[in-house]
Amino acid sequence: MGTAGRITLMALGAGLVLLLGGGCPVLGAPEVYRGGAMLVLGALVAVLGLWGAYALGRGKLARLVLGMLFLYMAVVGLVVLRTYGLKGIEYCMQGGPMIFGAVGQFCYALVGVIFTAVFGYLVSRIMNRRLWLAGLHICVAAVVCGAFIDYALEVKERVTVPANGSATIAEVQGGPLDFSLRVLDFQETFYDDAPTYSMYTMEQGGAGEAVPVPCEDGVLLAGDARVPVTELHSAPDMPRPFKVLPGNPPRVVLQNPPTVREYSANCEITTTHRGREEKYTAPLRVNEPLSCKGWLVYLESHGMQGGQPAVTLLLRRAPGRITVLTGMAGIIICTACWCWWKKEDDPA
C-alpha cells in the first residue's frame, strides 16, 4: 500500500473524528468546524485529491485534462439550458407580447442543449472508469479550494429597506456597490385554508405553551369551554381575533396566523454599462436570488420599519462560489459515472 493511500485513509479518519466532535447531537462542539485543525485538514484533502488524480491519471493526463474540460463545457450547457429554459417558461406563462421573448429565451436554451449533447458525447468517448475517479478527486480539490477562497474573501451584508421604493442602496459597509437597488413593493401570499385556533394559559411572565383548539361546526372546543367562532373579536394590540376565557389562570383563544405560500419583492436595479445607465425591474423571491455585478441579493425576511413595510435583504459577494458549485456538480457526475460505468472498461 502506498504512502499516499495511507495518508488518505488517515486524513479521512481525522476528518471523521473532527466532524463527530462537532456533530454529536448532545455534546457536540460545532466551533471545531471553523477552527485551525479543520483548515489544515481541508488543505490536506485538496493536496491529496490532486495527488490522487495525478496517480490515477498517470500516463493519460492529457485525456484527463481534456475530459474534465469537456465535462465543464457540458455542465455550462446544462446551466444555460436551465437558466434560459426557465426564463422562457416564465415569459410563456405571462403570455401576450412576452411570447416573442420566450422564443428568444428558448433559442438560448437550445444552445445549451447543443453544448451539453456535443461535449457530453466527447466526454463519454474520452473518459473511462479510472479517469472518472481521477476527475472526482479533482472536483473534491476544487470544492475545497473554492471554500478556502470564500472563507477568506466572502462578504455578506444585511440591509433593511422600506418596500415602497423610497430608499436606494448603493453601498454597504464593505464599500460601494457597482449598482443601486430599490425595493418597489413586497407581496406576501397565503394558503387559502380554513383558520385554525390555539389556546394559551396566561401565566406570570407571559403566555404558556400553545394548545391546538379543534373547531366543530363553528364552535371552538377549548378544554371545558365551548366558544362560538363569532365571539372572537379584534383589538388594536392583538395581531388576530381572540377571546379571553375567564378562570384562574385566565386563558386566551387566538386565531393562528395563516400559512405563507410565497414572499416576493419587486426590485429596481440601476447599473451602468459602457457609461450608459441601465434600469430594470426584477422579482426577488425565496430560492431565487438576484445576481448583479458579482453580487447576489437574497430576500431574507420582512417586517415593519417606522410604520412602513420593510424587507431585509442579504447582499453577498462570494468569489469562490462558482468554483465550489462547479466542483459539486462535477462530484455528482464523476461519482455516478465511476460507480455505474460499464464493468469491462478499465477497472478502477
Binding site: M1, G5, T8, L9, L12, G13, G15, L16, L19, L20, G22, G23, P25, V26, G28, P30, Y33, R34, A147, K156, Y191, D193, T259, V260, R261, E262, Y263, R285, V286, N287, E288, P289, L296, Y298, E300, L314, R316, R321, V324, L325, M328, A329, I331, I332, T335, A336, C339, W340
Partner: protein
C-alpha cells in the same frame, strides 16, 4: 381518507413481508410478484398522500417512509437485470421495515410547503436520499447476513448495492448544498443534519478507499455497518431529538 391511507400502508407492508418470506423460502417468482404488487400499492399510497397534501408528499417522516417501496422495487429490477444480483427479498424486507415505521406515525396529511421548500431541487433531493438510504439499509443487512455464511457472495452483493446507492447519496448531499446556496445564501452552514450527512458520506468514501488496498479488506464490513449507523443517526436521531435546533427541523 385516513383509513384508506393506513389500509394501503398495511397492505403494502404485508406484501413486502410476503415477498421477503417467499424469497427466503426459495420461491423467487412468488417473491417478485408480491413485490410488484407492493409497488402498485405504494404507488396508490403515494397518489393518495399527494392528493391529501396538495403537494409532493415529502412533508414529514411518514410520507418519506411510505415512499421507500416505490423506489426499492425498480432498484431490485435494476440489480437483477444489470448487476446479476437477485435481491428482491432483501429490498422487500427493507421496505417492510420502513412501512412499519410509517404505520407507527401520525397521518399529518395536511402539509403546506413553506417558501424555502418551493424549489426545483426539493423532489430530486429527497428522492435521491430515499433511494440511497433504502439501498444502504439493504447493503448493511447483507453485510450482517454475511456473518452467518455465504460470506464472499453476500459481501459482493452488499458492495454492488452500495455502489448503486452511493451516487444517489452524493447527489442528495451536494444537491442540498446547491439548493442551500440559493435558499440560505450559503452552500454549507454546518447545520447538524448537514454534518451528519457529510459524516455518512465520508464513511462510505472510506469504505470505497479500502478497496484499493488489500490490507484493509477486513475493514469493509465494519465500515458498511458504521455507514448505515450514520444513516440512521442522520435520518432518525437528528430529526427526532427535540432539543436540536436545526435548519432542517421542518423535515421532522
Amino acid at each position: 381518507m385516513s383509513a384508506a391511507v393506513y389500509s394501503l400502508t398495511a397492505l403494502c407492508m404485508l406484501l413486502c413481508v410476503c415477498s421477503a418470506a417467499f424469497h427466503a423460502g426459495g420461491r423467487i417468482h412468488a417473491a417478485r410478484k408480491c413485490f410488484c404488487a407492493a409497488w402498485w400499492a405504494a404507488l396508490a399510497l403515494f397518489v393518495a398522500d399527494w392528493i391529501l397534501a396538495a403537494a409532493p408528499p415529502f412533508g414529514n417522516m411518514r410520507h418519506v417512509l411510505a415512499f421507500f417501496p416505490l423506489v426499492m422495487a425498480p432498484a431490485a429490477v435494476y440489480l437483477r437485470r444489470c448487476r446479476g444480483q437477485d435481491l428482491c427479498g432483501w429490498l422487500a424486507a427493507a421496505s417492510a421495515i420502513a412501512l412499519i415505521g410509517a404505520l407507527c406515525l401520525p397521518l399529518q396529511a395536511h402539509w403546506r410547503q413553506m417558501p424555502a421548500l418551493q424549489s426545483p431541487w426539493f423532489v430530486p433531493h429527497v428522492t435521491a436520499y430515499v433511494v440511497s438510504y433504502g439501498l444502504m439499509a439493504v447493503s448493511a443487512m447483507l453485510a450482517l447476513a454475511s456473518f452467518r455464511g455465504k460470506t464472499d457472495e453476500r459481501l459482493a452483493a452488499a458492495d454492488a448495492v452500495a455502489r448503486l446507492a452511493f451516487p444517489f447519496m452524493t447527489f442528495g448531499l451536494w444537491s442540498g448544498a446547491l439548493w442551500a446556496d440559493a435558499a440560505w445564501s450559503a452552500y454549507w452552514a454546518w447545520d447538524i443534519k448537514e454534518v451528519w450527512s457529510l459524516i455518512t458520506w465520508v464513511l462510505y468514501l472510506l469504505y470505497f478507499h479500502t478497496h484499493a488496498h488489500a490490507g484493509f479488506a477486513g475493514w469493509r464490513r465494519p465500515l458498511l455497518l458504521c455507514g448505515f449507523a450514520a444513516v440512521l443517526v442522520t435520518f432518525l436521531v437528528v430529526n427526532f431529538l427535540p432539543a436540536l435546533n436545526s435548519l432542517h427541523s421542518y423535515a421532522g
